[in-house]
């Protein structure tokens, strides 16, 4: 039956009332009661498809026609979590009876994945699509081509949270902590050095999964150089500063070693040359740790009065905290992120 193929499926309108495929089903309309809240102006197509879905679910029907019904509904409401779950269960049951790829149904997991990607491009902000993909790839136990699929999505929105969540799962599930993954984050950062998602992913790849063991020889140097270079290009980029601080912390390197680097962006004695509020912020911490409260206060006052006045209440609060170093206990993470 050609109607299961993805191209036609998007175009074709299902005719539930006249198509003999559905003749045995009595649709189950939605009962909204009297004067409901948040009533939505459903399209007539959605209303009828949902009535068939309820009837099909009530009968626990997982026959091939469910693929058409569920794709029809997903095309109108991709955030319909029940319909995605119902579709996956149907696919699995067809797969188990080894009928999914036979002539009659003519569908395959690869076709399903292509269709899923076409939906993903139509509905970028959607969790269910990526969860469905995750279940399929896990079932197939094969990540081939999946990084390219997420790459296509990053070309549309390089910060798509759902896609990044999927990518992290992929990396973890198939142990892809490799050069290709590192290169992928590097190229995203080259395109947009402010891409915080890419910085976070890089941290995840390079340092995030380490347990008790510290980073390998040279990694901390390499990564802090990368961050410093990025900061030189864009001194007001919080993502790169946060990355730099985290890398040093993970490598057991004291914040104070950043003093000359920070002072090059924020010479507090020549305020006209200050190029970064983040450098001032770190300097206030470094000066405070060194017991130089005059300079620490100066850095915070420059932030409050001139370089970051929208946070002036915060910088003045920080001024009041000077000299009260956090106790070692409160600065040790109580929980290690599970790898």
């Amino acid at each position: 039956m050609a109607s299961y193929s993805s191209e036609e499926e998007e175009e074709e309108e299902l005719d539930y009332t006249n198509d003999p495929v559905w003749a045995d089903v009595t649709p189950l309309p939605q009962d909204d009661g009297h004067n409901p809240l948040a009533q939505i102006a459903y399209s007539p197509e959605y209303t009828i498809a949902m009535s068939y879905l309820r009837a099909i679910m009530a009968a626990n029907d997982h026959s091939p026609r469910v693929l058409n019904l569920t794709s029809d509904i997903i095309g109108m409401n991709a955030a319909h979590y029940t319909v995605w779950g119902y579709r996956f269960k149907t696919l699995m049951s067809l797969d188990r009876s080894q009928t999914l790829e036979d002539e009659k149904i003519g569908w395959s997991w690869r076709q399903e994945l292509e269709w899923v990607q076409s939906i993903a491009k139509r509905y970028e902000k959607n969790y269910q699509i990526w969860h469905h993909r995750q279940l399929i790839i896990d079932h197939l136990d094969d990540p081939t081509g999946e990084r390219a699929v997420t790459g296509e999505m990053f070309a549309l929105d390089s910060k798509n949270y759902h896609v990044w969540t999927y990518r992290q799962w992929l990396v973890q599930r198939f142990q892809l902590f490799d050069e290709e993954e590192l290169a992928a984050t590097a190229s995203l950062l080259e395109e947009d050095v402010r891409n915080n998602s890419a910085w976070n992913h890089r941290y995840f790849i390079v340092l995030g999964r380490l347990g008790e063991a510290g980073p390998e020889e040279g990694v901390v140097e390499r990564e802090s150089e990368l961050a410093k270079e990025a900061i030189s290009k864009a001194p007001q980029n919080p993502s790169a500063w946060n990355y730099l601080k985290a890398v040093l912390r993970k490598g057991g390197i004291e914040l104070a070693t950043l003093k000359p680097f920070c002072e090059s962006f924020a010479p507090i004695l020549s305020p006209d040359e200050i190029k970064s509020s983040h450098a001032l912020d770190i300097l206030s911490e470094i000066y405070d740790e060194a017991g130089d409260s005059v300079k620490a206060e100066k850095a915070l006052e420059l932030l409050a009065s001139k370089f970051d006045p929208v946070r002036k209440n915060y910088w003045r609060y920080r001024r009041r905290l000077l000299g009260s170093k956090p106790t070692p206990a409160s600065d040790t993470p109580t929980i290690q992120a599970t790898a």
């Binding site: 948040a38 309820r54 070309a155 976070n200 929208v310 946070r311 409160s330 109580t334």
Partner: protein, 418 residues
């Protein structure tokens, strides 16, 4: 945004330009907006929320409630009918609410198919808060059954499932969603329904609070925000869920003397830094090709950045968005630090940039209003005590009055032997 460029104005004296008039919260427009949402159909675009229609109900009812007009401008019969509708979303056993009527199998529902019509944590939370806003006392909820169902959703690592579904047996441990949202919702439902020790009619299995706290703490990211799971990027929505959940579990503020159980944020001062860093002004609303979903970062703010019209973004280098004015300021409020943000600047962003002429708030400047952003924009203003908006409770995202009413319910108090 009317940034005045001194060189382009014809000032003859060196006097500073007169200050712009302070924008006001247009209460009448907001009332109209909410009454329209409550009494007429929501547009077709809301179909994507169909499975969480109770969340839309929450935003609409809560929106009018938070601005203090729900009781004045709706009829008692209307409110009764809405209460009935909400209870119709409760599943027959009384253990939780579905996300909306879309999956209701009504008289066809049976033990064989009920897994396709499950109660969900969002559905249950939104129905409960909405019932409370409407004046209901939750007497028709089976507290014990609901609490046990909530506890049954918890996994050994402390995280929670959103619901039990019919496809669940096909999941593996590593494919399951386990983000802080569901811990927050479970913590809120538990806080409301459990009440004082000894107030339930029978022994009722509780959640594992220690494990829930450990899981929340494990979601801390390298920059001290929190993401959807360990290793994920910091996101203000998840940070809110972490902080509000800790608050509702009574585990946000560590006591002076050390305790043996997990408590608090791992690095509270660093997380406060991350939160206040979210405040930012939009940088590209004047651009002609303004497109909120452009695939790369918006232009960075000027340096030093402007002090006016600073809303909040949800992640570093993203645009400000109305809802984060609540997620972020709400977090700081729970940490007793909301005075650290520039409330006036946030107010300017909301009232001058995202408040819509037809009432409500859009997600970003120039966007049409939607129920989520309209409700959360008002709650954000409520935290800073805006005139015409009720005082609010950040943990439950509703009026303080609602929280106080819950605290006063007799059924939440310890049963005293007669």
């Amino acid at each position: 945004m009317a940034d005045i460029n001194p060189s382009s104005t014809t000032l003859t004296s060196s006097e500073p330009p007169p200050p712009k008039p302070r924008a006001t919260f247009e209460k009448q427009r907001n009332i109209k907006y909410w009454l329209r949402c409550l009494r007429t159909l929501l547009p077709t675009e809301y179909t994507s929320n169909d499975l969480n229609r109770t969340s839309l109900a929450f935003f609409c009812v809560n929106g009018l409630h938070v601005i203090g007009e729900l009781g004045n401008l709706t009829k008692p019969e209307e409110r009764e009918e809405w209460i009935s509708w909400l209870y119709s979303c409760q599943i027959p056993s009384g253990a939780g609410f579905r996300g909306g009527p879309a999956t209701d199998l009504s008289d066809k529902r049976s033990p064989d198919n009920e897994m396709w019509d499950p109660p969900t944590l969002p559905g249950t939370f939104f129905c409960i808060i909405t019932l409370l806003s409407l004046g209901d006392d939750l007497a028709r909820i089976n507290r014990e059954a609901t609490l046990e169902w909530v506890a049954s959703l918890q996994r050994s690592d402390g995280s929670f499932a959103e619901m039990r579904t019919g496809a669940e047996e096909l999941e593996k441990d590593h494919t399951l969603t386990r983000d802080p949202r569901f811990i927050y919702l479970a913590a809120a439902i538990r806080w409301i329904l459990r009440g004082e020790e000894g107030s339930l009619s029978r022994e009722t299995k509780d959640i594992d609070v220690d494990q829930a706290v450990r899981y929340l703490q494990s979601c801390e990211a390298h920059d001290y925000g929190f993401g959807s799971r360990p290793g994920a990027e910091s996101h203000a929505g998840h940070v809110f869920c972490v902080i509000a959940a800790l608050s509702l579990l009574g585990r946000l503020h560590p006591p002076k003397t050390p305790v043996s159980y997990p408590i608090g944020l791992p690095h509270p001062e660093k997380t406060i830094h991350w939160l206040v860093s979210r405040q930012q002004a939009p940088t590209d609303i004047e651009h002609e090709d303004f497109k909120i979903d452009s695939h790369i970062s918006p232009p960075p703010p000027s340096f030093p950045a402007q002090t006016s019209n600073n809303g909040f973004n949800g992640r570093d280098n993203k645009r400000p968005d109305t809802c984060y004015s609540f997620w972020v300021v709400g977090c700081l409020d729970l940490l007793k630090k909301s005075h650290l943000v520039d409330a006036e600047s946030n107010r300017e962003y909301l009232l001058e940039n995202t408040a819509h002429i037809i009432g409500g708030f859009g997600k970003v400047p120039k966007a049409p209003p939607d129920v989520l952003h309209s409700c959360l924009g008002a709650v954000s203003l409520g935290i800073s005590r805006e005139e015409g908006i009720n005082r609010v409770d950040s943990a439950l995202c509703t009026s303080l009055q609602t929280r106080e009413r819950v605290e006063g319910f007799e059924w939440r108090k310890k049963k005293v032997a007669a």
